[in-house]
């Protein structure tokens, strides 16, 4: 049985950003269905900046209402929108010169078809039903002179000081040939690495010597013992944050493989209280059951891991090694 050579992972960041007095004013005005720019010398800049883009000098907070209609200055047609686009039907990205502005605003235009879009056409905003003070309070622009607004008059402008933004990226990591061999060996319950012919150190899960900067090929593969000695550890008292699964103090230890210098970091020591973990303790790998072994944690970034294959390490009961022998092998 071979492992999948591909790992798909998604990272997500829920941002909350402060806006300051200039952008804050712009987004506050949006909640009352008004668009403002800022005066910079002879020009009106929309959306407003804190500084003159030409000189970098700070601008006085001299806001000017513009639009809501404007003229398309450039456009392109998106026939097949993707998830990160603001509309889920074909639309145009546009540069709009709002009436009274001297710069262009980037936004989207809902025009139905590509044929309906041209430079110089007049457009106006379609307002979101319940504004929150974001650039997409303008859902999109639509052809014509008149804004497309929800029923009724807008309320007073809200005081918008922060903006939430949910960022998400999906990566597909494909394992290198070295890592495919490494993961397949782990699947079979074998810890393997390559021994550098120059310095005699052994490296697992990377395919090169980090000291001598030379590639280490499959001919240098060797099976390593799944026994070792704890060379360092830390006890962590968990604080709650998204993704944190631990609730009680837990330990993470570095294990030096028997007879070598290779350190496997961030390991769990199983079945003893964290207070009894010590440097010099002899341990043996506890492998995951065959059916649960999973290469999802092995990526082409970093220096190799045993996560997904070795659950943790168990004290062998043998006498400890002298701790001072491990002082230079902490990580």
């Amino acid at each position: 049985m071979t492992v999948s050579t591909q790992t798909v992972s998604t990272i997500q960041f829920p941002y909350k950003r402060t806006l300051g007095p200039v952008m804050g004013r712009f987004f506050s005005e949006l909640t009352a269905r008004r668009i403002v720019g800022i005066r910079s010398g002879e020009r009106v800049i929309v959306p407003p900046m804190e500084y003159d883009p030409e000189t970098g000098n700070e601008l006085a907070h001299d806001f000017v209402e513009v639009g809501p209609a404007g003229t398309v200055r450039s456009w392109t047609w998106v026939a097949e929108p993707i998830e990160s686009h603001p509309l889920d039907r074909p639309f145009a990205f546009v540069l709009v010169r709002l009436d009274g502005a001297d710069t262009d605003l980037v936004h989207v235009l809902d025009a139905g078809s590509e044929d309906a879009v041209h430079t110089g056409m007049r457009v106006a905003p379609r307002w979101r039903d319940e504004p929150v003070g974001r650039i997409d309070d303008i859902v999109c622009f639509v052809p014509g002179e008149h804004a497309d607004s929800p029923e009724g008059e807008p309320g007073e402008a809200q005081d918008v000081t922060t903006m939430e933004y949910f960022s998400k990226i999906t990566y597909t990591d494909v394992l290198s040939p070295t890592l495919v061999r490494y993961a397949n060996n782990l699947r079979a319950g074998r810890l393997t690495g390559q021994r550098c012919p120059q310095c005699n150190r052994v490296f697992l899960g990377r395919g090169y010597c980090s000291v001598d900067a030379i590639l280490l090929g499959p001919e240098l593969d060797e099976v390593l013992p799944d026994r070792g000695v704890v060379s360092n550890y830390t006890i962590i008292t968990p604080t709650p944050y998204p993704g944190q699964k631990e609730t009680e103090p837990f330990a993470r230890a570095s294990v030096v493989l028997e007879g070598d210098e290779m350190v496997i970091a961030q390991q769990q020591i199983l079945d003893i209280p964290v207070s009894e973990i010590r440097v010099g303790m002899r341990v043996r790998a506890e492998w995951m059951p065959d059916a649960e072994r999973d290469a999802a944690e092995i990526t082409s970034k970093g220096w190799g891991t045993v996560a997904g294959f070795i659950k943790g390490w168990r004290h062998t009961g043998e006498p400890d090694e002298p701790a001072e022998q491990y002082m230079n092998r902490v990580f």
Binding site: S74, D136, T170, L175, L215, K301
Partner: protein, 381 residues
């Protein structure tokens, strides 16, 4: 006046100093859609190759600098394992920029200017295959006004191209001609990714728009790759290679981030960087980082390149675009025109940020005696 006549004028003033810095060797991996090697392994290979060309070892290197981007690779601190490509024990002097390797080269050049070391290595590496650039790149934009709109790089390039066309500075036909020329050149360069593609201008123009007014042929491929260059200061450069590519000017400039606040049909930062790097008089070959066809027109016009300057004989970013290495590849290709092809004055350009926001220009010269004859190495120093 032709480029060659101009070149004659510049050469008279070209006297090499001990403080001058040259590129003596370059190496790159072919740009491919998906590279199975890790970034560290890619860097090991290009550093090995570049050093081997001039008989240097890693222990000879006084400073190294990498350019890469965690956003692209999808790994935090990926420059830390990447450092293994230089062998960081015993400890070494090194640095990293979260930018194209061309900016890593800029830092290495500044470091060599200190005068206490003679040899530096600059690298760039990236694997765009791990993510979807259309979804990822909006995140490098202004987080307040632009990122929530998901403005992807191809759409932004299309907004720029339309303004260029409608202002009369280019035509769709000229863009198709740039695509066709780049593909013809790429066919002869094994390092490029887009090699057997259509090269007939009329057939390209008959293809539909991907983002009106841009067709697929106006866009770069998604690429993985890596590049390294070896920089040497003073007399050692001429000891290591027959004809060093002397860096006679290197400058980079940045403009306001929001592309809607700029004139997208011009590149003021490129123009200033080009002037500060010594100008384009006498430049015979220019390698311009123009991942979109219209950007080549903007760069050429902003630099004021003459009609007879050869543009992107490598095939350019349009046929191979390993982000974070693409710019350094352009400079390496401009240097190889001197190191290998005997040219006298060449220009390498790199860009970063949305719609040509930041631009770096590197002007390179080879030692030449009488018009057209490469001098005996180092004699005019």
């Amino acid at each position: 006046m032709t480029a060659r006549q101009n070149a004659g004028e510049t050469r008279e003033t070209a006297v090499r100093q001990d403080s001058d810095i040259a590129i003596v060797a370059t190496a790159q991996l072919p740009a491919v859609r998906r590279q199975e090697l890790t970034e560290t392994e890619m860097l090991l290979m290009v550093v090995d190759e570049a050093l081997d060309k001039v008989g240097l070892k890693r222990s000879d290197i006084g400073f190294s600098c990498q350019g890469s981007c965690d956003y692209i690779s999808g790994g935090t601190f990926s420059f830390v394992p990447n450092l293994d490509a230089m062998g960081a024990w015993p400890p070494i002097h090194e640095s990293h920029v979260e930018m194209d390797g061309a900016w890593a080269m800029y830092e290495a050049w500044v470091r060599l200017k200190h005068g206490d070391i003679d040899i530096a290595v600059a690298m760039g590496s990236g694997k765009s295959s791990t993510g979807d650039p259309a979804a990822m790149y909006p995140l490098e934009l202004d987080p307040y006004y632009l990122a929530p709109l998901g403005l992807d790089p191809v759409s932004l390039a299309a907004l720029q191209a339309r303004q260029l066309i409608e202002s009369g500075k280019t035509t769709e036909r000229e863009l198709a001609e740039i695509a066709a020329r780049s593909r013809r050149d790429a066919a002869g360069n094994p390092n490029q990714q887009v090699r057997g593609a259509e090269q007939d201008v009329d057939k390209l123009l008959a293809e539909g728009y991907l983002r009106n007014p841009l067709r697929k042929s106006d866009l770069p491929p998604i690429s993985d790759g890596a590049c390294a260059v070896v920089l040497v200061r003073g007399p050692r450069a001429a000891e290591l290679t027959e004809r060093p590519a002397w860096i006679t000017g290197l400058d980079h400039r940045s403009e306001v981030h929001n592309p809607a606040l700029r004139d997208l049909t011009d590149s003021a930062s490129t123009r200033i960087a080009g002037q500060r790097a010594g100008g384009v008089a006498g430049v015979e070959v220019a390698e311009l980082m123009a991942p979109f066809t219209a950007q080549e027109v903007i760069l050429r016009q902003s630099l004021g390149l003459a009609e007879d300057v050869v543009i992107n004989p490598s095939g350019g970013a349009l046929t191979g675009n390993p982000l974070m290495a693409t710019g350094l590849v352009r400079i390496a290709a401009a240097a190889d025109q001197i190191l290998i092809n005997g040219r006298s004055r060449t220009l390498g350009h790199a860009t970063s940020g949305p719609a040509l926001q930041q631009n770096l220009v590197c002007v390179l010269e080879g030692d030449t005696g009488a018009e057209g004859d490469p001098a005996a190495k180092g004699d005019n120093r």
